[in-house]
């Protein structure tokens, strides 16, 4: 399959701060997930390939054309930026219609397209309200609608599912998959693995501005699963719970927090751990108040993988 997005030795820094470094990639039609912790360089990469920033070193092309300052190419690109930004006094419809007009559609066509895009993200009833009155999730959906209003061939989405409720998350994932079925190229950046997993098998791991790994989701999953997970459980019978778990091979470490009635466990078999915990809760009637995974964000996982 012919690659659509080509990046060669791409580097970009902000003063002394490194954004991305020496990234070479070829991205083909379909959905590609860009996964990495916050500050890894995902957004910088998207900004460079969308022509919003110029690479300090290296080149990037889309459909074999250079991107920066090539505004005619933007007709074929849809960008959903990371920021929660909007024109507060403008209605959802006006904003989406305006973007359609900037893509050269007539007033009538732009209105039709805006209506369609807005209905796809389920905001028909709120379309005439100022965006300033929208909830965060609604703003995210209207931003997504604006990025698809011109039916782009390449869709660049930076954290597109952030703050969207579970029902609409599923629907937006479906819209993105519909774009994939039409042979379009979609790049989705996120720091949440399950979000990327729900969209695609093709993943690029970015960490500290570099491509850390690239491949199938299962390969990445295996890498991540090999990382010991830390899980905190808060319950009044925390010592009893620790006693019931301590003889399990997959429990590597237990720390007690007497003040907060909490234990923090380390395990290398996350799924088995949760199976056991659920069983104990039911069979031994242990009342759990809170389960948290302090390193559930990717940072911990990446730090572990980098250090291997």
């Amino acid at each position: 399959m012919k690659s659509v997005v080509k990046a060669e030795k791409l580097s970009r820094w902000y003063g002394n701060i490194l954004g991305i470094s020496d990234i070479s990639l070829e991205i083909c039609p379909g959905i590609t997930g860009l996964l990495g912790p916050n500050g890894a360089g995902k957004s910088t990469f998207l900004k460079v390939i969308s022509g919003q920033l110029k690479a300090n070193i290296g080149t990037v092309t889309i459909f074999d054309e250079p991107v920066f300052s090539n505004y005619m190419l933007f007709k074929r690109i849809g960008l959903c930026p990371e920021y929660d930004t909007y024109y507060p006094d403008v209605t959802g419809f006006s904003q989406v219609e305006f973007f359609a007009r900037l893509h050269g559609f007539s007033k009538k066509e732009a209105g039709k397209r805006a209506d369609l895009a807005i209905s796809r993200v389920g905001l028909e009833e709120s379309k005439n309200k100022p965006i300033g009155e929208y909830s965060l999730g609604m703003r995210q959906r209207i931003k997504f609608a604006a990025s698809i209003v011109h039916d782009p061939d390449v869709l660049l989405l930076d954290e597109p599912l952030r703050a969207i409720d579970p029902l609409w998350r599923v629907k937006i994932i479906q819209i993105i998959k519909d774009f994939e079925k039409q042979g379009k190229t979609i790049i989705v950046a996120s720091h949440i693995l399950p979000e990327i997993e729900a969209l695609t098998n093709a993943i690029i791991l970015i960490h500290q501005g570099k491509v850390f790994a690239q491949g199938d989701i299962h390969y990445i999953r295996d890498l991540i699963d090999a990382h010991p997970h830390i899980i905190s459980v808060k319950c009044t019978e925390y010592r009893r719970l620790a006693g019931l778990m301590i003889d399990q091979e997959f429990i590597l470490d237990i720390k007690f927090d007497r003040e907060n009635h909490k234990i923090t466990l380390q395990t290398d078999k996350r799924d088995q751990f949760f199976d056991l915990l659920n069983r104990l809760i039911v069979e031994k009637s242990i009342e759990v108040q809170e389960i948290t995974t302090p390193d559930d964000n990717l940072q911990g996982v990446f730090d572990y993988l980098v250090g291997r």
Partner: protein, 262 residues
Amino acid sequence: MGLLAAIKEIFSFFFRQGIRSKKARIFFLLSMVPVLILLLVKIIELTNADSQLSAEEIFSKILLVIYVQVLIPVLALFFSTMIVNEEVDNKTLVYLTSAPIPKPAIILGKFAAYILLSAIIVNAGLFLCFIIVSIDQPGNLANVKTFLSFLGVGTLALISYSAFFTMASTWIKKVIALGLLFIFGWESVVQYFPGVTQKFTFMHYIKSLLPYTQENVQFLTFRLEPSGTLEALSILILISVISLAAAGIIFTRKEYILSDSA
């Protein structure tokens, strides 16, 4: 999309947005203050025959001090810095720069929208002032002519200052403080200097074009050595064109970093 079509789209979106904005409402209310002052003076003049106050004199002072020296440059500063800085601060610039339009269209479209908006604000106040002053002398064509000259000069002043501040804001990030210093420092002080020094201010050329200045220099409280109408007009237009062209070039070439996050 071509440059002109893009300018038109940007203009109509931002004009509609601007006219509903809080900033426009505040400036509109501010532009009504001189109208109220004048109305009060006119009422006193009409009701009290011994009154020392003359609405016409007050009108002249309002035009010069409030409109020409304060309202027009300040309005130009605030609206023109919104063209780029507001988009950068609110991070909405990405929506415009990711559209298939030439970058200068963003500057020129927003510039045109805000010029029209500020011209409406200034000229509405001026029009009401004129109505109040000439309420007891309807049909005075000389007054109408003077008023129309003021409208033209006021609008040209808005365009010149706005173009200059637009260029500055594409280049420098926090331009409001510097702009205020320019308006109330440079523009206010240098214009009082005799000789050619005063020609380094916008105010010199604007005042040179004001009808009262041409006819009666004593009307002014400073020593103006006015430039000719053609010279003043040419210089203000030239500065506007050069500033806008420079703004377009700077905006096209410069990168605006919207976030610290990498």
